[in-house]
Every structure is written in structure tokens, then in C-alpha cells.
Amino acid sequence: MTPDPGPATAPAAPALDAPRAAARRAAARPAWRDAIGRWLPHLVLWPPLLVSVVHVLGFTGYTTWMSFTASTLMPDYEWVGLRNYTAVLNSRNWQIATDNLLIYGAGFVVLTTALGLLLAVLIDQRVRGENLFRTIYLYPMAVSFVVTGTVWAWLLNPSIGIQRLVRSMGWGGFRFDWLVDREMAIYTIVIAGAWQASGFAMALFLAGIRSVDADLYKAAQVDGAGPWRIYRRVVLPAIWPIFIAVLVILLQYTIKTFDLVRALTGGGPGIATQLPALVVYDLMFQRGLLGRGSAAAVMMLLSLLLVLVPYFGFMRWRRHREARHG
């Protein structure tokens, strides 16, 4: 059990020397209050800020350092240079994981963006029941990847899911067994991922479309442009920053994907749906290779920075430009 500063003991201490404290307070109130007034904000303000900063920098630094050491089951501070990195990069597990990351990333990002944009445009057509549709499209974002993965694992399981259903309806030769097919299993993660995240993309696109200047619409309508032409020529060009935001968010998701695969395929069949995040976990906690696991984690971070650094640079540039042009 955890040591718990029980409520029974906590108030007792001040109660004991309460009279003394009261006397002191009466004697030296102004100075005492001033000091508290000056220092208390700092005492309250700095610990959480410091904890956050130390946690981000310290943990990143520690794991990076570990990645250059001979650590196995326990941290071991013998420096081994890039040995962990070459070992990970040369392992079949990691090569499959990175290949999968590219396939899954491309499929997931393209499908989710396309679905999200299509849904946003459809909902933007002044439809009845807009709120109902939005609620339905976005609810997957409220459930965990574990739940999503578990349920899609049933639906895609050929012996109990969609394949079985279609066959029982009379189409005996129907095949939909991607989940157990080494070549195709990675696409089941694309499907489940897009199911979960496309409503989110829709919400972002819709917010963007709705914020397009009404005058632009009117001008295009006056010019006699039809609705699809207006989207292509006016709305979509106006919301291109949203495209970049969606792209960055989805790429970030891709690189971090872990729960979904654990619940949907467990990385299988075999290691056919292995992803970097699973390799890290496997190295660190199943094989007890902390050094190599840390090296894999650092490479995950580097790939993330490859996405985020240009994005933040771009955001900065845009802010500067907006500031200059008013």
C-alpha cells in the first residue's frame, strides 16, 4: 500500500501549537503577511511549472542517454555509442515496423482526410439533422482505441464477423479475411483507425469551411459559380491551413499508434502488423533490453520531430506574416 498522510493526523499538528502561532501572528502581522503575500504565489506557481519542464526535458534527456548505454534489464551506464541504434535498425522486427508505418500512415492519413472532408462538405449543405449526423460521426473519438480495436477485431474476424455474415446470406464464396492475412492485415488497422478519427477530421474541416468569409461566397455566386466550383475554387483554397493541421495531427497519431494494434491484431499474424511503438514496448518490457528500447523510442521521437518542426516553423512564419500585413 501507499503511504497515505491520513486526514486524522494532518490537522492535529497545527492544533497543538495553535496558541503560540496565534500569539506570533498577533505580534508580527504586517511583516508576516507581507512575506506570505510575496512568497506564496512563487511557492504555488513554480512547482507545477518546474515539474512539467523537468519532466519533459529530464525524461527526454534520460531516455536519450539510456539509448547510448549497455542497459538491459536494469539501467547500466556503460557507454556503447550507436550500437543500440544499429542493432535496432538491422533487426527484422524494426524493418517490418517501419515498412508498416509507411503503409499504414499513407493509408490512414489519406482515407481519414478524404472521409473527413467529404463528410464536412456534405454536412455543410444546409441539411436537416446536422447535429445528429455530427454527433454520430464524431462519437468514435470518445471511445478508447482499445474498444475500437476489440470491436473491429470481431467484425473483421472471418469466422465470426462480416465474412461469416455475408456467407450465411447465401454468397458462399465471399472472402474478407484481411485480419488473418499477412499481406492485408495492416489495412484492417487503416480501416479501424479511419473509422475512429475521420469524424475528428470532419469537425476540423467543418470549422474551417464555416469560417470562410461570407463575402467570398457571395462574390463567387455573383460570378455564377455552381456549388462544387465554389468549393474547389474558393473554399478549399481558403482552408489550406486546416489541411496542414489535419495532416500533422494524423501523422502524429500514426507514429504513436499502439493501443489500436494491440487490441485489433496484437501485432500479428506473426509480426505482420508490427509498428514502432509496439517494438519499443517489446524491447523494453518483454525482452528486457532497455538500451535498445530507448534507441527505438528516440527514433520515434525523431520521426515525430520530422513532422512537427516544419509545422511549428510554418506556424511561426504565418504568424509573422499576419502580424506584418495586419
Binding site: 519533459v56 449543405q125 441539411v127 464524431l138 470518445a142 465470426i160 450465411s168 499502439f258
Partner: protein, 284 residues
């Protein structure tokens, strides 16, 4: 404005309804299976109407089904999740509000750096923190405890909550603060009297975001706890592993539904704030 049903309109509604079906099918499957018997599902598929209503699935899923050789259903894990998510959400939101307030309104030297680093915490992959957290939890004696998960989620959550609150508080005009300072109000008085009354919208967004994220989190739960201490997401995975020999899709569906219910309810009742959190966290 009359909704005239031109062919184009019909096509739009047909597409909207078709996609609605695509998003709803998994939920529908879980709801229907949760009241179907194992024999019923085994004889057909996971997609189908119940032949008889087997409400017993919920009872078993909640209280008696065996997960990793403990036959108490998912209820102990649900409590674990609640014991984790409630304190972690409240504490991280309060600290985030304070952080956001001091970063947005009490500028100090290097504040932008501090904010930048905290924001990095939002993006830092969990994998970079697994080993350090293992050591920290061990040194604090919090290995395999809910308290350990609360600590992790508070520290991790401060990044998000600070980001949300800071961006919200920057809209508060500095003049308001100056006036209050001239009146002799200090750091806490201003927070309490001026900032907090303006905060309910962002606090609701933050609480919903934190609750949903912490409830749904899996990697920390499965890495830092085992057996009876696990949150419900980790228990669901253990459940699917333990039933793989003799699948009990009915009971499992009931368990999945129960585990997903808290965040689904939060979504249904706080939808507007949920979406605001998603987009605020994303576009900023």
C-alpha cells in the same frame, strides 16, 4: 427554407445516412451482442438480432466473469479507473489553470520558453517516458498502484491543461489586471475574483478532455500496473486474451459497453465542449 428534394439533395441525404450506418454499426453490434447468448452468436455471426434477450451477460461481465484468473468481472477495474481518473482530472485541471494564469497574465522572464517546453510535453511520445517513470515510481514506492497512475496522469496532463488555459487566459485584457493591482489585489485575489469567474467554459473543456484521455489511456495502465491494480482498458485486453480459447462475445460485448459508457455519456452530454477541446488542442 423548404428542403426541396431534388436528386442532388436525395444523394446528399443517402450518403449522410450511409456514413451514419458505417459509424453506428460497431456500436450497434456491441449493444445487440451484449444481450445475445454465446450459442446464438456462435451459430450465426457477431452481426445479428438477438433471438432471446440474455441480460445475464451484464451481470456476469460486471461481477463474475473471469479475467486473468480473477472471477470478479470488470467492476474492480472500473473502480480502479474511477479512482485514477477523478483525482487526476481535478488536480491536473487546477494546476493547469494556475499555470495558465501565471503564464498568460503574470509575465516573467523566460515565460515563453517555459510555455514552449510545457507544450512539447503534449507531443512527446509516451515511449520516451516509460523508463524514467518506471524508476520514479519505484523510488517513490508507487509501483503497481493507482496512486502511481494518478501521479503520471497529473504530470502528463499539466501539459495539456496549461496549454488550454494559457491560450484562453491570454484573451483577458491586461487593463483588467492593472486595475485590480492598483486596488491592491494580489496574485490569488485576482485569480479568485477575476480569472476564475471567467473560466467555466475552459475548465469544462479541460475536465472533459482530461477525463476522456485518462479514462481511455492504455499504455501507462498496462506498463505500470498488473493484476488487480489495472485500469479497465488494460483489463479489456486481458479479457480478450482470456476468452480466446472459448469466445464469450456476449459477455465481452457487455464488458466493452460498460467500459465505454462513461466517456460516451460525457460525449453525449458535453458534446459542444468535447468538440471545442478537440479543435482547440489541435489547431492552436
Amino acid at each position: 427554407m423548404a428542403d426541396r428534394l431534388t436528386p442532388a439533395r436525395v444523394l446528399i441525404y443517402a450518403l449522410l445516412a450511409g456514413f451514419a450506418a458505417f459509424y453506428l454499426v460497431p456500436l450497434l453490434v456491441v449493444v445487440l451482442n451484449s444481450v445475445r447468448t454465446a450459442e446464438d452468436i456462435g451459430a450465426t455471426s457477431v452481426v445479428g438480432l438477438p433471438r432471446e434477450l440474455a441480460f445475464g451477460n451484464f451481470e456476469r461481465a460486471w461481477g463474475s466473469y473471469c479475467i486473468a484468473r480473477r472471477c470478479e468481472g470488470i467492476s474492480p477495474y472500473m473502480w480502479n479507473s474511477f479512482l485514477m481518473v477523478v483525482p487526476a482530472t481535478i488536480i491536473s485541471t487546477l494546476l493547469g489553470a494556475l499555470n495558465g494564469y501565471s503564464l498568460a497574465l503574470w509575465r516573467f522572464r523566460g515565460d515563453n520558453w517555459v510555455f514552449g517546453i510545457i507544450t512539447l510535453g503534449v507531443f512527446l511520445p509516451e515511449q520516451m517516458k516509460l523508463v524514467p517513470w518506471t524508476l520514479v515510481l519505484r523510488d517513490l514506492g508507487l509501483t503497481n498502484t493507482i496512486a502511481g497512475l494518478v501521479l503520471i496522469h497529473v504530470v502528463q496532463g499539466i501539459s495539456f491543461t496549461t496549454l488550454f488555459c494559457r491560450n484562453y487566459y491570454t484573451a483577458i485584457p491586461q487593463e483588467l489586471l492593472k486595475a485590480a493591482k492598483i486596488d491592491g489585489a494580489g496574485f490569488f485575489r485576482i485569480f479568485w475574483r477575476i480569472v476564475l469567474p471567467l473560466s467555466p467554459p475552459i475548465l469544462i473543456v479541460t475536465v472533459i478532455w482530461q477525463f476522456t484521455h485518462i479514462w481511455n489511456e492504455f499504455l501507462y495502465g498496462v506498463t505500470f500496473t498488473s493484476g488487480a491494480q489495472q485500469p479497465v482498458t488494460a483489463a479489456l485486453i486481458a479479457l480478450s486474451v482470456s476468452v480466446s480459447e472459448a469466445p464469450q462475445y456476449g459477455v465481452q460485448s457487455a464488458a466493452v459497453l460498460i467500459a465505454a459508457l462513461p466517456t460516451l455519456l460525457v460525449y453525449l452530454f458535453g458534446g459542444k465542449y468535447f468538440v471545442r477541446g478537440l479543435t482547440a488542442g489541435a489547431v492552436k
